[in-house]
Symmetry: C3
Subunit: 304 residues, 3 copies
């Protein structure tokens, strides 16, 4: 990988992805060796929407590489309130920082921002658009636990609105994965995503119940079904309840099943799953650090 910005997972070839994951694995194997690598680097954090784990893990990643961060702070205490454009904001921040991590509520914001500045821009989520570093840490977690070859994965929950899911599904077409999508009918994959997956030759099947495929899966990727998607509370409860799992449900799964979730979870995964060998969602969250370290290292480049 030798790119200026990271805007979309789709810009990454299989070779690019593997380069990032290999670097992350190197880092994970010997954190000490990396902890002064970017000692003079300053990373700008521009989060136009609240974020806990994405912001904190980028912050951690830069610091674990020996660098510093400067944070724009919440939008309501910024110049944005005075009517400043995103292009102006990032052009100011590029004078402070060696790279910019950007989250913004509008799709396309990261791409636009990247066209105005000379420092690398990393998209940390742009509305309904992309969140490529989430995809990379998902792939890393899959590779570490189940391998990316000959993979059977189930992706369950809100498949309609979840950008995490769309991005992961598309990235998996670079590998030989069999993808099962499990959701209520009202929250199935959007037609455009389904089309892209077929165009890429993906092996895709859709289901409305987990038990149709659970026993075949190497990985089960669970996402949250949000209350707001349903016209009334009763309807939500009825539907959401069918896409929740507990330890009992997993009794028919392979021993080696890996259960993932982008977090935060609410009721989708019962706490009793946490103590099973399947639970890898906290490990997945922790993988944000080596994966984002790898990315920062590759985008910022050169020892400092």
């Amino acid at each position: 990988m030798r790119q200026d910005h990271l805007i979309s997972a789709a810009q990454l070839s299989r070779t690019d992805v593997e380069a990032v994951l290999d670097r992350a694995a190197d880092i994970d194997a010997d954190r000490e060796a990396w902890r002064r690598r970017h000692a003079g680097t300053v990373l700008g954090l521009c989060f136009f929407e609240p974020s806990t784990r994405t912001r904190m893990s980028f912050d951690t990643a830069m610091k674990r590489l020996g660098g510093r961060t400067v944070d724009m702070g919440p939008v309501d205490s910024t110049s944005v309130k005075k009517g400043e454009s995103l292009a102006d904001t990032v052009r100011v921040v590029e004078g402070y920082a060696d790279a910019i991590v950007l989250r913004h509520p509008l799709e396309g914001a990261a791409k636009m921002a990247s066209e105005f500045v000379d420092v690398p821009v990393i998209n940390a989520g742009d509305g309904a658009g992309q969140h490529p570093t989430q995809t990379l840490l998902d792939l890393y977690t899959i590779r570490e636990n189940a391998g990316l070859d000959d993979l059977t994965i189930g992706i369950m929950g809100d498949l309609k609105y979840g950008r995490t899911v769309h991005s992961l599904a598309e990235a998996l077409t670079n590998f030989d994965a069999r993808q099962h999508f499990i959701s209520p009918e009202s929250l199935q994959l959007p037609r455009s995503v389904r089309y892209d997956l077929h165009a890429a030759g993906a092996q895709v099947r859709e289901h409305t119940a987990l038990d149709e495929v659970l026993s075949e899966l190497d990985v089960l990727y669970v996402t949250r079904i949000q209350r707001e998607r349903f016209p009334d509370e009763n309807e939500y409860r009825k539907v959401a309840g069918q896409y929740q799992i507990d330890a009992d449900d997993l009794s028919v799964a392979k021993d080696s099943l890996t259960v993932m979730h982008p977090l935060p979870r609410v009721d989708e995964i019962a706490p009793d799953v946490d103590d099973t060998r399947h639970a890898k969602y906290f490990e997945q969250a922790h993988n944000a650090v080596p994966v984002r370290m790898a990315l920062l290292d590759m985008l910022i480049g050169g020892d400092d």
Copy 2:
């Protein structure tokens, strides 16, 4: 001290306390020697309630040890709003940080959190519960100024609701202190605290007026009486006014009297006390840094 977490002052023996205070004194005597001690360490700051001085002084303490901090940020910009449990939040943060400082509005939160993670958890206040590092810096300030042996201390103000006071009073039972409690009747020590003090063999007396004991005191620890505790403003003003001190009031005190206050103060201590030799409340606030450095050093352990 070789403990995994710091949840309550009550878990600390006299020996433990003295070990922390000795370490703090070492640090205070030669800050320079400590400033790279934990160069690779990342401390997670999880404040579920606003805090200025506790958060800032932990932040400073970690940085004065050469380490870094990552801050969860205010709760309203976090996953907590999406319904994430405290157990999940801290299990994510332990993947970023080598130790966690936690403040939470609910009593018992720190204890609970500590049961879910492998990194040290430091309780920075859990509602009406504990705030053990405040107690340690109070003890440090007393020891530096008046000594902890043969001590006569007066604790004045809101003795009913103040966790700082309860924790300090209980910690002083490890030493030979004579404790005088001065408060309006409606804000006296809760029965449970009084009971614990007697059970521990403490020498306790209660008063409604400071002048009954002021001249005997080595230390006067003043706390704020909050408006919210009174049904009406007039009642508050009348009562609170009796537990405020100015420089004149202190004319009958020992020359060596040390006046302390956990801060922020409002009207409890008049500004003219600031210029007297008695005023040690800013020094007390500053002691947060070496004491928290000592604690972090002991809990995180090992040169980095």
Copy 3:
């Protein structure tokens, strides 16, 4: 310069200013040489009002010098809400930090704060009062682009309420500048500022239209005209529209004209100006870093 605090641009002689700008130029020429200069230093950021670029650039400046920062955070999560005085807040923070950057809504706040603490206080804006580091970075940008000798500068927009403008105009009286002020009648320079400029022997002219002087200018400093200054929206639009520039407007300007703006801008400078050789407002924003590094270095003093 050997001062304890930086409260007002007026406290700086021409020699002082040149010392800061020279230091900033040294830093800009070789950032690498400075990046460990203040490795053990902790800077306290106390912003009692929101700020993006001032806070971020001080944060960056300290980190680019190898130091750390501790941030008080937004006022609504601080002890200030509990009624703590500014004097108490800064006296606590001086126990954490080696210097304090203070922004406060009340004029005179920085001066007052400086009288209570022993560490250097840097005024980062006190209401309608001073913002001396903005003036220094403005002067630095002028010097780098047009030189400070034999300068013809136009200052346009809201000249009545803009502290940035007043401070810059007064600082320029130390140099041989010809100053043209361009504004609607309702937003002309306050009488007191005009008086001070004349008393200092400044060469001042006032205009209501830019085209009266544009062709003579070496520097055009544009400021925002705020909606709030006008009784109705129509009046605002009519007036503000006359003090906006686009690339076409600049066709009559000198080739070497430097256009500046303290940012954020809204409509005062059309985006098509960004691509002209005249646009220096982002460079101006970036100059905040070396100028604030120079100031911190000079106020904190001594290698660390």
